[in-house]
Amino acid sequence: MGEARVIAVASGKGGTGKTTVATNLARVYAAQGRAVQYLDCDVEEPNGHIFLKPRIDRREEVTVDVPEVDAAKCTGCGECGKICQYSAIVCIQDQVLTFEPLCHSCGGCWLVCPVDAIEKKPLRIGEIETGAAGDVGFVSGRLEIGTVRTPSLIASVKQHVNSDGIAILDVPPGTSCPVVTALRGVDFVVLVTEPTPFGLNDLKLAVDLAREMGLPFGVVINREGIGNRDVETYCQTEKIDIIARLPDDRRIAEAYSSGKMIVDALGEYRDRFLTIQNYLEQARK
């Protein structure tokens, strides 16, 4: 106890059961008196709150730095426009225009300005809620509609990881930059999949990513029985541990649909999440 342990629950494909696994796993840890947090990193479409029903203690706005040009100081040298790869700051004759939603906050423009005419200005990209759901610490990010700074908000959510307990990250689907940001630096990745051709296709992408990032990982097969055994065969061939399995039980879908936790509504499946927890304890060594 007391050892920092950051576990990401991810998948290539959407809708495989990441949030189901992440929320129920967090409850199982808490039930054993372990200090545990659930962090919803699917900031575009956060759903953890639907199941954990947390009490929110704090809401904070998250901003990123974008350039603000002091026209009085600007000499029209054009250096800021030249360094920007994103058309977020553009020099037209002797005016400097900024297009804040395109900014990546790389810092290039204010670094390069020879007369210090560029200040940092905060741009709102979303918010983070923190609180608790019983004994589970709760953190969730929510992206402002229309902004493209998903990775920046995910990075902010991760800053709320407590260093003295278990942190379970609910990761967005896919394999591109939001997922990379969520997975960076975690101790273990639980990849949730379904035994279907789409599930297998996307699992392979997620496995490639985890390997490229050098992260240890294992697989949870959800809705076992609906498709074929190709996912099973793939895991065996690749020597990937299948940590646990959840069956294709319509009652699980129905409970999920109305926001119920599986460990509450269908206690007979509790042991599946305990299996995941036990595996993770062993994997630590």
């Binding site: 058309s87 977020a88 553009v90 037209i92 004759q93 005016q95 225009l97 297009f99 939603p101 395109l102």
Partner: protein, 123 residues
């Protein structure tokens, strides 16, 4: 004077492209000499910043006016900064667009007339 017309192709009889930021080409025409050059638009596939990039292309080409179907907010702002006159609702071929300009047929835009990313779709 030089004007830029958004074009679906490389000829004077190509259709005017209704998008600005993601227009396939810019036809740069000197209205006095009718000298003509088609510039391929590298911003077509841009996820963001296409309008800005395209505005820079026409400003750098020395155009004083842009003729197009529709123009989004980022492009309009950039063109305005470069004191470029913007004409929207332009249709027909590039040649017809130029004639229309000379005859004063086209409406100058009071601001952007479409939202951003308009040109990524099938219009």
């Amino acid at each position: 004077m030089k004007i830029a017309i958004t074009s679906a192709g490389t000829e004077m009889d190509s259709q005017v492209d209704p998008r600005f930021g993601r227009a396939a080409y810019f036809a740069i025409v000197d209205t006095e000499t009718m000298a003509f050059e088609a510039v391929e638009n590298a911003n077509v596939a841009a996820a963001g910043g296409a309008g800005i990039g395209s505005a820079k292309v026409v400003i750098d080409a020395g155009a004083e006016a842009v003729l197009t179907g529709n123009c989004g907010p980022n492009a309009e702002r950039t063109l305005r900064a470069g004191s470029i006159k913007l004409y929207i609702g332009v249709t027909g071929t590039v040649a017809e667009a130029v004639e229309g300009f000379k005859a004063g047929r086209w409406q100058e835009a009071a601001g952007p007339n479409v939202g951003s990313h308009f040109g990524t779709g099938g219009a």
